[in-house]
Symmetry: C2
Subunit: 293 residues, 2 copies
DNA sequence: TAACCATATAAACACCCCTTATATCCATTA
DNA sequence: TAATGGATATAAGGGGTGTTTATATGGTTA
């Protein structure tokens, strides 16, 4: 027979008060309840814990010893509960986000900054990688959520789009006259093009779309990051395929100009992915609210 | 609302097993009981502690953290229970005995030695003093039991006689002829007498008994310890009032001889006294058994 | 697709713990 | 010494809670 732990809570309070009736008040119980609880504990331990006196009770040696242990135990539980509360406050804990490089810089970083200011004690861990590698990281428990380019088609994931992005082509001043009027995919493909590497999700998306229209591209430059692509365009190395939303500053300042296309490239979305089977942690859930809201 | 501590015990077992049904087996409960207990704990903490998977459950971050605290707490309780068991085994704890000097040396010491051999881990504290001072020490909680000369007449004490002692008079070789035949109190009182100090319980007892027979004694020597009294008799300084049981060696070896009295001094007893209001500790109770048995 | 193993849900029952009521003991005070 | 007050002990009844049985649901595996 295992001794009920709740008896120890009562025991601690009685030990503190040196009185059954005093403990009863503190615990919002009646004196007989306390009396019986202590008697039960004493019976199960086969040890007298208190000496009853006309003015209360006093601990026996055994009782004193036990009280130290019981007090510590209950304190530990209380500290544990406090820690849990801190988790809920997001004053402790961690948030592990998987995110693609470009999204990281232009979309997630500002959000992360705000989030960090709000919950400065939360540990943040950011994992970079391709969409595919991030999704498998998510499934293996390496990250809590993944922010990546959609579509992601996986029945075991919750996928929530949170921002639309548009693939577009931009150029520097040198090409201004040449591109003064709208052009089609086929004409565009003949110009010197600047793209991301073929492995990149964005590159594949645009390239596939062109292919579906019967147009094959063969870029002059294939670069490792969106930043580089933008810089090359600004240096008039060619026409760059970029994400409009991540090139906003250059477009608004007039450093770059957008190609007018006669056909549209359908927009894509950035979305948050999480495992259906694992409920979001408080931190993840709060972060998702933030970037969706 | 305070969270029931027993939920934490279940939580620990589930955490260890990473499985509700596994924990159910270990706890001799059914799986739904575990399921509901964890759900209740999660509800009261408003925090998910386990992620349910098809092959069991896994701890969330919150759960992991809480488990450390809960495990430690329950371990503490278990250690406390073990300590209590040690108290019962008399492998820890202490025994505080109040005892008169003479009794200490001739009666208690041998018993104490046996007791200590049997329970070597028990701390022993011996307090010396007069019967009166020991009784008040007992009442103030300074000792657990008192071994002293009876009678002790106090309604708040349990008094158990455990050995009879006899007051008698002894002498050395010089008095041999003089005391070859039985004599009465009155004649005895005229001889040079060696007694304990007037404050001693034994002295008072014998002196009072003589007085009740109309005989007043005026000892030649009044000494501080029974040992001294015996030694003075051996050195033929007079006729010594001693306890027969504590002078056995001298009498048997012929170093001292016992006065043949025509009237008897009623025997007294040595007894163990304890407070009625305070049950004996395991150690006290075991010791009392020993000296009574 | 069926079987198996995991957790979740629902409902009934049994047990336990708490409360109310009362007793008892001791100490203090009139 | 009797009476009062405050402490714990005891007894009995009732309500709540936790456990069980029964069943559902979901997911992996063969």
């Amino acid at each position: 027979m295992v001794i009920k732990l709740d008896l120890y809570r009562i025991f601690c309070v009685v030990g503190k008060n040196q009185s059954f009736s005093g403990a009863a008040k503190e615990l919002f119980m009646t004196q007989p309840a306390i009396s019986q609880s202590i008697m039960q504990l004493e019976k199960e331990l086969d040890t007298r814990l208190f000496n009853r006196t006309p003015k209360g009770v006093t601990l026996t040696n055994e009782g004193s010893l036990l009280l130290e242990y019981a007090n510590s135990a209950i304190n530990l539980i209380e500290i544990g509960e406090e820690k849990i509360a801190e988790f809920k406050n997001l004053t402790i804990g961690e948030l592990r986000i998987g995110v693609g490089d470009t999204i990281s810089k232009y979309f997630l970083l500002p959000q992360l900054e705000a989030f960090r200011n709000r919950y400065p004690n939360l540990k943040l861990k950011i994992e970079n990688g391709t969409t595919d590698s991030l999704i498998s990281l998510l499934k293996s428990g390496g990250v809590d959520i993944v922010v990546c380019n959609l579509p992601v088609d996986d029945p075991s994931l919750n996928v929530t789009p949170c921002m639309d992005i548009h693939d577009t082509f931009v150029y520097g001043d040198k090409y201004r006259k040449l591109l003064a009027r709208p052009i089609g995919f086929r004409e565009l493909a003949k110009l010197p093009l600047i793209f991301l590497e073929p492995s990149s999700n964005s590159r594949k998306y645009v390239e596939d779309h062109f292919l579906s229209k019967g147009v094959k591209i063969s870029p002059e430059f294939e670069l490792g990051s969106h930043d580089l692509v933008v810089e090359f365009a600004r240096m008039n190395m060619g026409i760059a395929c970029v994400t409009r939303e991540f090139t906003k500053d250059y477009l608004e300042s007039g450093a770059l100009h957008e190609v007018q296309l006669t056909e549209q490239i359908p927009y894509r979305s950035i979305g948050v992915c999480s495992l259906k089977s694992v409920p979001l942690s408080p931190a993840s859930s709060r972060f998702v609210e933030l970037i969706e809201g």
